[in-house]
Symmetry: C2
Subunit: 330 residues, 2 copies
């Protein structure tokens, strides 16, 4: 069976050579363990951070060991109470075709309730990040203007839809005309900006947000975020959820110092990590499930087939090749 | 009688020629008015912002009109109920030796309770900014590490003392060895850093904060703040109260983009304007007054004599010539 190791720590944009496809023996299932067969692997921009060394909120990946991320697996053999053959589980698992597990930290998921990949998307960390980041830090009120960067991505597209459900004017920023069109036609955004072709991002945001920006859900950082800052309203809230524009930088990117904008607007800017809000998962998931069931939230997935294509799927995130949630199907 | 007008909008560091000392006739006191004689004028870094045009939380000063700031005045004549000759008032007033006023927005202050200038300092906007910024955004817990920039200034010196009263380890950053000494010997800071002579500000902060930084009260912005950011703890809170290092910049200063630090630490950064917390003044002032009376808070003032020296006193703020609160005595 196959597993994917981190071969070298990427410098700049990750390369296929940073990963290593390794053959291993099938693991033996011990007492109080089960054997899992991988069904879906989630690839996410934040994994780039774990590929670097250094102190962070989550330990870095080790070289020559399997990477891990959110995954869905099927129980194919079980010596563990509470899990039986044919069950599906969701959780942080290793990039291996098969692995044994004691069940800790895994959640059973029901393929009859929603398609399995949804548990990595809207009903998983993606949906929770969008909902809890927006509501716990952004606290949008009906009638306010919410701007989302990385708006056609997994988290961004859900943020925009939820903000619409909460009665806000929603403006999305994405990297192609096609994506901008999808924001409006599929997800109901009020306006969209293609940052790659708009000449003056400040002006484009000002035009799309005639009443200024009350909430900014930031997945990208950099110059796009500068443009939003120049259009901030008093008491604006900024959810700093991602900074994909900088993840592959080999030196610290520079930009204008905009603290005076925070002061004059009494604005709030807060880093968001979904794991800190676990206490709220129990109330968030039923809400997301209900919206999904009622057709009020649309789930978009870019599915890549084949375990060995996981590194390429991850690399593609940084070229914006995904629409919605990028998932590898085994 | 004399008044001080804004002559030109300063470019870069304010110059004496940006101000104009003008002679005016004594005003006539109408019905429901009183005549005020200026006693103390507060000069504060934030006034620099009001000298520029552009949208902000407070209207810009107009050219060829009197400037204004927090002041203490004596009632020398009154046709107004509730105010009598010999009373002292505190409030936003114009830079004039004498002025008439209808009493709106003014507060009577008692020279028997505290020295009059204290009502511009610890018992005025300075103390309120320090206390409410620290407690409402910073929310320091006993045992946490609080770093203060501009620590020997009016607000910073009070922030540090309050953080000590709340049981924190307190580290101050200031611009001379003498100031650093005062932080420790006068205000009880645990450690001080002279940013002008320390070679590596990141390292100096790391050494002064062996347990990292939980709360950062920022009065200055720029490279000093970058150094603090690199030493931030998880769930750190940053009060963005001032950015004096940038107020005189003629172009937007550049610096490293540090949003990834906010994300990985789930840190919060919020702009603070004391006027938004008026509802809390009533509970804050008695607390400050009690600490002052008990000798737990020390009030330091740099007093400049003479109405016509007000512009120079203001300019001196940007050279760090003040210790504690800079006040002009008439």
């Amino acid at each position: 069976m196959k597993t994917i190791h981190l071969n070298t720590r990427p410098i700049g944009t990750p390369q296929l050579s940073d990963f290593n496809l390794v053959n291993e023996d099938m693991p033996q299932v011990g007492d109080n363990e089960m054997l899992l067969k991988t069904t879906y692997i989630s690839v996410d921009p934040y994994l780039r951070g774990r590929m670097m060394e250094g102190k962070s909120y989550i330990a870095p990946f080790e070289l020559n060991k399997a990477l891990s991320s959110g995954m869905i697996s099927e129980v194919v053999e079980s010596n563990l109470d509470g899990f039986k053959k044919g069950d599906f589980v969701s959780g942080m698992l290793e990039w291996k075709e098969y692995q044994t597990h004691n069940g800790e930290g895994l959640m059973k998921v029901d393929p009859a309730q929603a398609s399995l990949s949804t548990y990595l998307g809207i009903l998983g960390m993606t949906g929770l990040t969008a909902y809890l980041g927006l509501t716990e830090i952004g606290k949008p009120k009906a009638g306010e203007t919410v701007v989302v960067s990385g708006a056609a991505g997994a988290v961004g597209s859900v943020v925009g839809q939820i903000a619409k459900l909460l009665g806000c004017r929603v403006v999305g920023i994405a990297g192609s005309d096609e994506k901008v069109e999808v924001l409006k036609s599929e997800y109901g955004f009020d306006a969209g900006i293609n940052y790659k072709t708009t000449g003056d991002i400040n002006k484009a945001i000002a035009e799309a947000c005639p009443n200024g920006v009350d909430v900014y859900f930031d997945n990208v950082g950099g110059e796009i975020s500068d443009g939003v800052m120049f259009n901030l309203n008093r008491f604006a809230r900024i959810i700093v959820c991602g900074a994909i524009s900088m993840y592959n930088s080999t030196s610290l990117p520079m930009g204008p110092r905009l603290d005076s904008i925070l002061i004059k607007n009494s604005a709030l800017k807060q880093g968001f990590i979904v794991a800190n809000y676990m206490a709220k998962f129990g109330e968030a998931i039923p809400k997301l499930a209900q919206w999904l069931q009622e057709g009020k939230l649309k789930s978009t997935e870019t599915i890549v087939e084949g375990f060995e294509n996981t590194p390429q799927a991850f690399i593609n995130l940084f070229e914006g090749k995904n629409k919605g949630k990028m998932i590898v199907k085994i």
